[in-house]
Symmetry: D2
Subunit: 132 residues, 4 copies
Amino acid sequence: MYYHKVQYYETDKMGITHHSNYVRWMEEARIDFMEKLGYGYDRLEAEGIISPVVSLSCDYKKSTTYPDVIGIEVKVVEFKGLKLLLEYIMTNQAGDQVFTATSTHCFLNENGRIIRISKDKPEFYEAINKGN
Amino acid sequence: MYYHKVQYYETDKMGITHHSNYVRWMEEARIDFMEKLGYGYDRLEAEGIISPVVSLSCDYKKSTTYPDVIGIEVKVVEFKGLKLLLEYIMTNQAGDQVFTATSTHCFLNENGRIIRISKDKPEFYEAINKGN
Amino acid sequence: MYYHKVQYYETDKMGITHHSNYVRWMEEARIDFMEKLGYGYDRLEAEGIISPVVSLSCDYKKSTTYPDVIGIEVKVVEFKGLKLLLEYIMTNQAGDQVFTATSTHCFLNENGRIIRISKDKPEFYEAINKGN
Amino acid sequence: MYYHKVQYYETDKMGITHHSNYVRWMEEARIDFMEKLGYGYDRLEAEGIISPVVSLSCDYKKSTTYPDVIGIEVKVVEFKGLKLLLEYIMTNQAGDQVFTATSTHCFLNENGRIIRISKDKPEFYEAINKGN
């Protein structure tokens, strides 16, 4: 579980967390998930791999605000080597789900070509599927 | 058409616009759309209405970066008075689609209760459906 | 000491942390400092006090980037009850100073009037000066 | 004069523009100023020059909020070829000054070495001093 404390600068004049920040927290939790597998974005970039976001789908269930602390769970839904589909569940201190989402990612080499991780980085491929 | 120039502070170390910013541009274009109908968020708030985001679905098709200028089209897909479903198409200077998305919004009164715009604010309801 | 891990979304296309984020980390560390004194912004707001930033002065000494972890020290330079002058020293993992700054804050009541904390909230006044 | 419309996502739960955004608007206006001189950051980067922020000094005079439109004036205070000192004056629709600031910038080549613009890019040096 990754934890993010809502910052004052993440709220808006409605008095709640601005919805765009959840997309940033998804990235925070995803990077933390990758780092725990031994594959931080800095390592991926050092190995010439970048991993752009292909799509997002987000459901806002309950508002949050400063100074809430949000627990974020990340799970691999599917990864056959080309597109990584992740799921996110965010929960507030009371245990209520506040936000759920999925994101899809691909992997590019230094020339911007899509690579098949299962073939080009088999240990990374296995690490992700074990991380599930 | 609403235009947003990509700012330097919106890029990330991949050299491209960070994906979370598109969600902010959706809001910019949506607010512009509402203002052109005569219903800016400041007017809605003055009338005791807030309109939170219920869900988002985003497809990243082509990267953008500083100093691109992105054209953003907003369309009403469906609005029967309760949930407003909007569609966004973002295009770069070359005319390529870079991002498409939908967002769903509801409307709350000052007590946080969901309201039916078709009943409680009929002129606003008609304005949105005409804006389409 | 407060710690902030540089997030990927805080970097820019120069490959380093965008300079505007340090101003946000100042707020994070300041709020943490206040919370440890028992006066989080949520408590201040509940007591009808808001505390806007009056001025900032920032020196950027060394760049940082994802995934650096930045240590942030906050100290009270002067507080006679009207204007709070704080100092910030940010240090990277290697112990190098990366950023130093000061900020000045005043305190307003619910009517937007400046209040003298030493008179209106004497315990808060003492807590800040002890926190030093 | 450069204009920035305050976005909803730039406000915070105090109901006003979060103070960190003014630092971003300074960058927007500075880049616009440079572009009008024919030296956008994209051109500088293409020529192998990056220009980090060395220091900032900011005075917050009046709050702003969505949907204010802020006029931003940028002036060269001093540029002898090494450090560029700029001044910013931000004004609201009513003509009131809301924010004033200065920023200092240096210029680095691709190896991260400080360069003297007056010597290495004399036309750029003259353009800035004429832009004043």
